[in-house]
């Protein structure tokens, strides 16, 4: 494993800031851009992946307080699903250490293509507001995988369905995270939203909560493998936290769907290059 190909710290910080900002605006997470971008620049996938998970961990931590205050995170659902996600990321991190660099790069390319498709298809109002729930307090309902959240002036009740299928998908997303160093939110959010019928906003916030745990579990394994470059890590995290904050502010003035479409095109280009070049 060589760290000589890592860009200078200032460039890493700017890359972290840029990808975190664009990720925050588009709602896809910055690592899905950072890791393939670093590999395109010649960084070994084994070195790039931990930097991706550090960016994921920083983004998840920074977003947590406001999402908690809005009552959007469903902790019970997140923790239940994350049992599979964490098992997946540990397995993926162990497998990735044994895979040759070109194979990892091609896998990363496929992940970028999958993220592009997921980002392009995202959206849709599945859970309509229910008048009978108008007096409910937003948040999760104790002892269940259900809850309610406020959409405008109305309350939207929901209950997560098809848990076994959700667990399988999150296990797969954990594997992808461990191998590629990306958060896996592009799998988790559509799984919760489209498969488990959880409202998009709750799914996105719960996914942000769970990717922080996924990243922690993956980083524990990467740390044991000696794959975390500490100086590079500091540059990426400082850049990521700054860029994520700026991105969240800019999001109020931009249209997330349009940003996601542009991101999808960028990811397709990066993904194809990585798949072809290896």
């Amino acid at each position: 494993m060589s760290t000589e190909t890592l860009p200078p710290l200032l460039a890493l910080g700017l890359l972290g800031a840029g990808t975190a900002a664009v990720g925050a605006i588009g709602g896809v997470g910055g690592a899905i851009l950072l890791v393939p971008g670093l590999v395109l620049l010649g960084v070994e996938p084994l070195v790039a992946a931990p930097l991706g998970l550090l960016l994921v961990a920083a983004g998840s931590l920074a977003a947590a307080p406001s999402q908690l205050e809005q009552g959007l995170v469903h902790h019970r659902l997140g923790i239940t699903l994350e049992i599979a996600g964490s098992a997946g990321v540990i397995l993926g991190a162990l497998v990735s250490d044994a895979l040759p660099g070109p194979v990892l790069a091609r896998l990363l390319g496929l992940v970028a293509l999958a993220a592009a498709v997921a980002g392009g298809r995202r959206g849709g109002l599945r859970n309509p507001p229910g008048a009978v729930f108008a007096s409910e307090t937003p948040g999760e309902w104790p002892g269940t995988l259900g809850g309610a959240y406020r959409l405008g002036a109305e309350m939207v009740p929901y209950t997560a369905r098809r848990l076994p299928l959700g667990l399988l998908a999150v296990l797969a997303s954990g594997l992808v995270s461990g191998i590629a160093g990306v958060g896996g939110g592009f799998i988790k959010t559509p799984t919760m939203s489209e498969v488990m019928h959880v409202p998009v906003k709750v799914a996105a916030a719960t996914s942000t909560f769970t990717v922080g745990i996924t990243a922690a579990a993956g980083l524990i394994v990467y740390g044991g493998q000696g794959r975390i470059e500490l100086e590079a890590a500091a540059a990426v995290v400082v850049g990521g936290l700054s860029g994520g904050t700026l991105g969240a502010l800019a999001q109020q003035h931009l249209h997330p769907a349009q940003v996601r479409r542009v991101l999808s095109v960028v990811l397709v280009v990066i993904g194809l290059i990585l798949v072809v070049r290896g």
Partner: protein, 101 residues
């Protein structure tokens, strides 16, 4: 148009948020600490910088796990055994990652 794209669709502050105020404050402090450690790691030379960067990584790894532990305790106190058990199972799986060292 997706839910998140609806203008003004964002929910107002959760009236229950006060119950999780300590958690919110802790997470804000952890974010500031991680950022500060990161900046210090870039400024401090040599081994000192590496030690502070390692501390930053520890903050990023421990904080979400401490959040899960806090939720397990909270649910246990409320006799929500099913989900307290799920939290313990999750922490056990993550701890298995340490065995790979």
């Amino acid at each position: 148009m997706s839910e998140e794209d609806l203008p003004g669709a964002g929910p107002p502050p959760n009236p229950l948020a006060g119950r999780q105020r300590r958690l919110v404050i802790t997470l804000r402090v952890a974010t500031v600490v991680a950022f500060t450690f990161g900046v210090a790691a870039l400024v401090l030379p040599g081994e000192a910088g590496r030690v502070v960067a390692a501390a930053m990584v520890v903050v990023l790894v421990v904080t979400p796990l401490a959040r899960v532990a806090w939720l397990v305790l909270r649910w246990g106190l409320r006799r929500d055994w099913r989900f307290a058990g799920a939290g313990v199972a999750l922490l056990t799986v993550v701890a298995l990652g340490l065995l790979t060292h």
